[in-house]
Amino acid sequence: MSEQQYIDFYTQCRNLIMSKSCGVMNDVREKAFKRFKTVGFPSRKSERYKYTDVDKAFQTDFGILFTPLGITPSAYIFSLKDAPADVRPYYNRLADQHDGITLLNTMLAHECLLIYVPADTKVEKPLTVDNWIKGEVPSMMNRRILVVMEKGADATIIVNDHATDKQEFLTTQVIEVYCHDNAHLDLYEIEETTPLTKRFSNVYIHQQPYASVRHSVITLHNGLTRNLCDVILNGEFSETTLNGCAIGSGKQHIDNNTLIRHNAAHCTSNELYKYVVDDQAVGAFAGKILVEKGAQQTSSQETNNNLCASPSARMYSQPMLEIYADDVKCSHGSTTGVLDETALFYMRQRGIAEEEARMLLKNAFLGQVIDQIDYEPLRSKIFVKVEKRFLGEMEKCKTCNLCK
């Protein structure tokens, strides 16, 4: 029962947190705390947390970091504190009020990053959010991001997750995304942390008519990762694409859990998650597509492909459909297997060394996800990163001093 230390911490430090925060965040804090006290952390018995032991992850006595946001002046990125009054009410409206992790985040987060794109504005360059966590002692960070896309807005957001130092870290992250009519958002999350890092990320997306969202989550280096993504398609003709690729080795744990709720007719959703698990790594994918009554003419496709590269790797796959409307086309597919021996043989016949042939095949396997990255510079960067990852090299970014 590791929730107690967080309850104690909050009881002692609530004033400190509140003083660092702003009104709109403080308004919901107490309520979240009360809920958290009753709900606690989800156990492995709860369906959506079957594959990750939350309690264990939170057991360490973490010091809680209150690093202030560092924002490069931009027309679109703010701290929620400085946000105009009409944007503030978006805060905490989407977040699941029954999820222990989200509640904990709401309770402890002291700042919230706001990305606000006004109506009919196309942001040419991607907006980048870099998260660094460093510290001398086991530390915990609670991040909060709010994205509001007004009617017809168009943007690309890249969230990079880094960790340094050989220290145990834990981050919780809640991202809420509102997409109004005709808005378009590309949201990328790239994780390159360390084996000692634990990450719990909950993403909530709400879409109005004709809105389209693509969310890609790429896990390259990590310790324990749990990504949850809930999408609500509330307007007709909206479109969602959820992509994910994960490479696990050592004792890494990668758990992606998605829910796409079709509330309106004529919506499209596509999901593609690919995993390569090696050594003793554990991969888990659970995705549900829920088509509510009346959401006719829904078209939905969910795919999960996995490669198990070592005898002790473990893969869980759980693609689900829950359908209450009859005029729909929904399908899902899941495969788990090994590298194609004939393809390997073909390459070796042509003088490609076995190791390299394996790497090429693995690269091509994940290529299907990476190819869907629209922003070209990012796509080529990820290709290189994935290749290096398979070679066992950590990518060193030139600009960042932390990795050195």
Binding site: C308, P311, S317, P319, L321, E322, I323, A325, D326, V328
Partner: protein
């Protein structure tokens, strides 16, 4: 005019809904240790079995009803059910061995041949009504080949060693809530033992019938197939139309040895309740097979059309190397029926293979879910699974769901799963209607074609029956 026709069909739909007026000995309602002792003494059971029942009962008392299914299970008052009803109880004084003619008539009406000379198909039948096996046919003929086919109560008396060895070895009483309940109060069911190197010369079949009011049926079937043997086993079931829910919690255990093959087919047609969802059988069943031997094979084929609620996951534990398991299922739900059904394939042996083909059809206001687990153990090198789950939706008020779970711990395994959900395409309907086939028949035709892959796996007599059942179950659901 058309409405009248539909109404007529709907009322006629469940043709097995009659009751038999027969003297039945029913014990008082309620569930307690005393009731279990009473059941056990009525069956003259040995002490070890009574102990097994009591252990199960004590375990059951500590458990709560599972709630993970995609079902709305009504509260079941376990004290309001009678756990033993015996329609064969002789009236005092009559010592004849004859079966009550009323009983004979009932089974005749159901189309189950209890008189061997009338049985043209050469199918041996064990007929079970309420808690007691009425008659098992062709026993002697089977005995020539040393095949044992009898009711489980008889087996307990005549072959105690076999029963004791295998009972609960596949589905332990601690398995789940309903398995514990069944282990505590199970009444009758069939026992099949096929000795080594024997091919069972005829289809074996058990027919279950619930007749008495306010009783539950808790049958237990145990099939043991020794090395190099083969048996095909069929199970059918019906119940009268009643306003209250009736509980049916059965266990089927199958043991398959080296090179042996068991084919288990079910056509489940318990009373599904009326069009308003009133009444119907609660079908809460645990079925499992252990493929202990190498190169063993087990195939489950099920056609589920009845029951108000179906909670059933015929499973296979593939222990032997190179063993093979198959699961073919058609589940039809109409009106207010709810079905949460599927399978578990647990691969433990090397090069084990499993195939899952599931077809769900939902109409009316029903809910139909597929729930399946494919688990590949650490040592199951080269294991292979293929699953395909299709759902067909007829009408906009029903639901079709797929919940597959895959857990893979071996890197040489290949697991594939695919599922689709759709409705009958307008093009297909138009094509049929252009050719003078009315909508209702066209739907029947398309649905039958859709389910063909599974129906083909049924023994012939059953396939015809199942096909008819499929169209009857869906009548009135179009338009």
């Amino acid at each position: 005019m058309a409405n009248e026709f539909v109404k007529k069909v709907a009322e006629e739909k469940y043709k097995f809904g009659f009751t038999t007026d027969i003297d039945t000995e029913i014990i008082d309602k309620g569930l307690s240790e005393d009731v279990i002792r009473l059941i056990s003494s009525k069956k003259n059971e040995p002490d070890w079995l009574l102990e097994f029942r009591l252990k199960s009962f004590n375990f059951w008392k500590e458990q709560t009803s599972p709630s993970w299914g995609h079902l709305t299970l009504p509260d079941i008052d376990y004290q309001d059910i009678s756990y033993y009803a015996d329609p064969t109880k002789k009236k005092q004084g009559s010592e004849t061995k004859e079966i009550d003619p009323e009983l004979m008539k009932t089974f005749d009406k159901l189309g189950i041949p209890l008189e061997e000379r009338m049985a043209l198909s050469g199918m041996a039948v064990d007929a079970v009504m309420d808690s007691v096996s009425v008659k098992t046919t062709f026993k002697e003929k089977l005995a020539e080949k040393n095949i044992i086919f009898c009711s489980i109560s008889e087996a307990v008396r005549n072959h105690p060693d076999l029963v004791r060895k295998y009972l609960g070895s596949v589905v332990p009483y601690r398995d789940n809530y309903f398995a514990a309940l069944n282990s505590a109060v199970f009444s009758d069911g069939s026992f099949v033992y096929i000795p080594a190197n024997t091919r069972c010369p005829m289809e074996l079949s058990t027919y279950f019938r619930i007749n008495a009011r306010n009783t539950g049926q808790f049958e237990r079937t145990l099939i043991v197939c020794e090395s190099n043997s083969y048996v095909s086993y069929l199970e059918g079931c019906t119940a009268p139309m009643r306003d209250e829910n009736q509980l049916h919690a059965a266990i089927v255990e199958i043991v398959v040895m080296d090179n042996a093959e068991v084919k288990y087919s079910t056509v489940q047609n318990w009373y599904p309740g009326d069009e308003n969802g009133k009444g119907g059988v609660l079908n809460l069943v645990t079925k499992r097979g252990r493929l202990i031997g190498h190169h063993s094979k087990l195939s489950w084929t099920q056609v589920e059309t009845g029951s108000a609620i179906t909670w059933k996951y015929p499973s296979c534990v593939l222990e032997g190397d190179d063993s093979q398991a198959e699961f073919y299922s058609v589940a039809v739900t109409n009106n207010h029926q709810q079905a949460d059904t599927g399978t578990k394939m647990i691969h433990l042996g090397k090069r084990t293979k499993s195939t899952i083909i599931s077809k769900g059809i939902s109409a009316g206001r029903s809910e139909n879910s597929y729930r399946g687990l494919v688990k590949i153990g650490k040592h199951a090198d080269g294991a292979r699974n293929y699953s395909s789950c299709d759902s067909l939706l007829l009408g906009s008020k029903c639901g079709a769901h797929t919940f597959p779970y895959m857990d893979i711990q071996n890197n040489t395994a290949t697991v594939e799963h695919e599922a689709t959900t759709s409705k009958i395409s307008e093009d297909q309907l138009l094509y049929c209607r252009q050719r003078g086939i009315n909508t209702e028949d066209a739907v029947g035709l398309i649905v039958n074609g859709y389910a063909k892959e599974v129906l083909n796996k049924l023994p012939m007599e059953f396939a015809v029956e199942a096909q008819k059942l499929l169209s009857v179950s869906l009548e009135g659901s179009v338009g």
